[in-house]
Symmetry: C2
Subunit: 369 residues, 2 copies
């Protein structure tokens, strides 16, 4: 299999602005090309767009706007992990030899139709993700005797990290009491426990070893890929206090990279809601069952940015199709020692965890320098 | 690169029925599994859905409905060539070694939002594909002195072929006069010159050499892949009487398969409108410029089903996301000598041509036994 590296990236602030999807898409791609003027656009043979937007033909539109005439161009959608699905697809084009250089742009508008799970009749009236998040929180707290205060700390920590991320939607910090006193959405969820939808885009270029080395002195390699879909609907889940698809995807990715969880120095986890972060830590093997909150407490106390350095989805905002790509850019910056005040101490390996719809599907990537 | 074969397929009639997209999707996949009871669904590690439907998360939904828990699952959209984009993506997953067995299902409802090119402001008020088809017809007829009668023969021939295809939308045959006297849509297009949108689905399983040989005695191999996107918008095209993206994609695919056009025994061409068939014949090298109509006349006269044996888009109907997959199934059936009364004489190599939006992007596949 051909080696696949990250040759360049571009990202712009996540906002509440009302912009056309084409403009949102273009922003991060423009940023990428402005920051990497050596890139020869005729080398780009594939353009993939990750989005839940209803607009069609976005990959050829982005290609035309950026002056690229690719061979392959199409859009990819799988709700909240559309971004990492696009990265895995781009990887497969290069690893198979069909492509050498792939531009992947994720973009979403604040009113993305991917936010409501209309199709899942097993949810009854409860189509919004807050309902599965409520059940997860109730189940997790009860099963492992975790307090509301402990879960609130996820939001406190991630807003603190987001404050150090110039592209994050949030620029405010909060105390545990602020989180507990924020608007009650359901019995088990407060407003500050939830990631917020927003407008944003993120672009990345994947390349074969030859092209990646030509375009950057510090290519980051994708060495592990794991994906799993256990179901689509809510009621098919075997547990509301762990994430089976994340566990299986993590296992596959770490095995492919020949790494154990303790060899991962920095990780982006899909904290769509507070409870998702400790559950992901446990499902990925970073903590024993019910002990994820202790890792979070320790990292918060020591100001260690190891988990969700850019502020996670809670702090950065969650423009669905862009999220997995923004997560991958953060780990790339960390491994390149370019993460500014968010920089983790000399990381060698990083991990991205991106999931959809009550963790019915997950993607895990391992990145290395 | 690992060899990739077609291990199974399923297809159901294209209709005007108003059905939920989930039901449409399921139909051809169900047909595939009923016709191939030996397939072990736990071997399927990737599920791709090709559609222009606005529904989200369709690949996990199809997976759950068919009892599959894949690693990778997502939707792919690129207007009318979504189907072949999905096949190329599935190919890359297998060729790269990330997957061994990929289920690809294309599905569309009759009211698909992919039929109107809302985004292309260069079209002014003319968002419907009939407007580019009118310009193509006017330009092609004028440049090569081709008559309305000659273009009408495409529809006559393809309706005749569709009559032999039990899954085609059309079951009627027409004369050249019928076509010329059908409702005038624009100065250069009659109703019977146009493919019609419909409800339909088509499923295919791609597999590694090992799995393909396990599941079928007559695997068909994908030996050539070519794709090209020249632009997204209408006015960026260099010519209205030839298809640059088709020419480039065809060149790449034939080169990869090490074939010349005269070694192709049967072809599915993207006749969204009558004029597209001779233009595609010429752009792919099956005829000299302006002489595609002569190939059509000859084939019609001799009752040779070589070009668009299933009736093309004009005769079969055009459920956008399913079309490229249905075309690929037809060539597979032809190479397996399973095409019934549509069977071409002992074909060894076949070709699929699928395109979008005034041929601003094209996919060409070469298939061999």
């Amino acid at each position: 299999m051909n080696k696949v590296g990250i040759a360049a990236y571009g990202i712009t602030p996540f906002t509440k602005e009302d912009e056309k999807i084409e403009s949102v898409l273009l922003k991060s791609a423009k940023n990428l090309f402005e920051d990497n003027t050596d890139i020869d656009r005729t080398d780009i043979d594939t353009v993939l767009v990750s989005s839940n937007d209803n607009s069609k033909y976005l990959a050829p539109i982005l290609s035309e706007m950026t002056g690229i005439q690719p061979k392959t161009a199409h859009s990819i959608e799988n709700l909240c992990n559309s971004g990492t699905n696009s990265i895995v697809s781009g990887y497969s084009y290069i690893a198979s030899g069909l492509a050498e250089m792939v531009l992947i742009t994720g973009a979403e508008r604040i009113d993305s139709p991917g936010q409501i799970l209309k199709w899942d009749n097993s949810r009854g009236e409860f189509k919004h993700p807050i309902f599965w998040a409520s059940l997860f929180s109730k189940s997790y707290k009860s099963r492992y005797s975790v307090s509301e205060e402990q879960l609130a700390l996820v939001s406190v920590k991630n807003h603190k990290h987001a404050k150090a991320n110039p592209n994050a939607l949030s620029n405010k910090t909060y105390t545990v009491n602020d989180v507990l006193n924020s608007k009650k959405i359901t019995e088990d969820l407060r407003l500050l426990d939830c990631s917020r939808s927003c407008t944003g885009s993120a672009s990345i270029i994947l390349a074969s070893e030859r092209i990646a080395k030509k375009n950057t002195d510090t290519p980051i390699w994708i060495t592990g890929i794991g994906q799993k879909t256990t179901s689509a609907s809510f009621t098919k889940k075997s547990s509301f206090s762990s994430m089976e698809s994340t566990q299986l995807a993590g296992h596959i990715a770490l095995k492919m990279a020949d790494k154990s969880p303790n060899q991962i120095d920095v990780a982006e986890l899909h904290d769509a809601f507070s409870v998702c972060e400790p559950m992901a830590l446990e499902s990925l093997g970073f903590a024993n069952l019910g002990r994820g909150v202790e890792v979070i407490e320790e990292n918060h106390k020591t100001d260690n940015f190891k988990i969700n350095p850019r502020g996670g989805l809670i702090g950065s905002g969650h423009p669905l199709g862009a999220t997995g790509i923004a997560q991958t850019i953060e780990i790339t910056q960390q491994l390149q020692q370019e993460a500014g005040t968010r920089q983790v101490d000399n990381p060698k390996s990083g991990l991205v965890h991106n999931m959809s719809a009550a963790a019915t599907s997950s993607t895990v990537l391992v990145l290395e320098k």
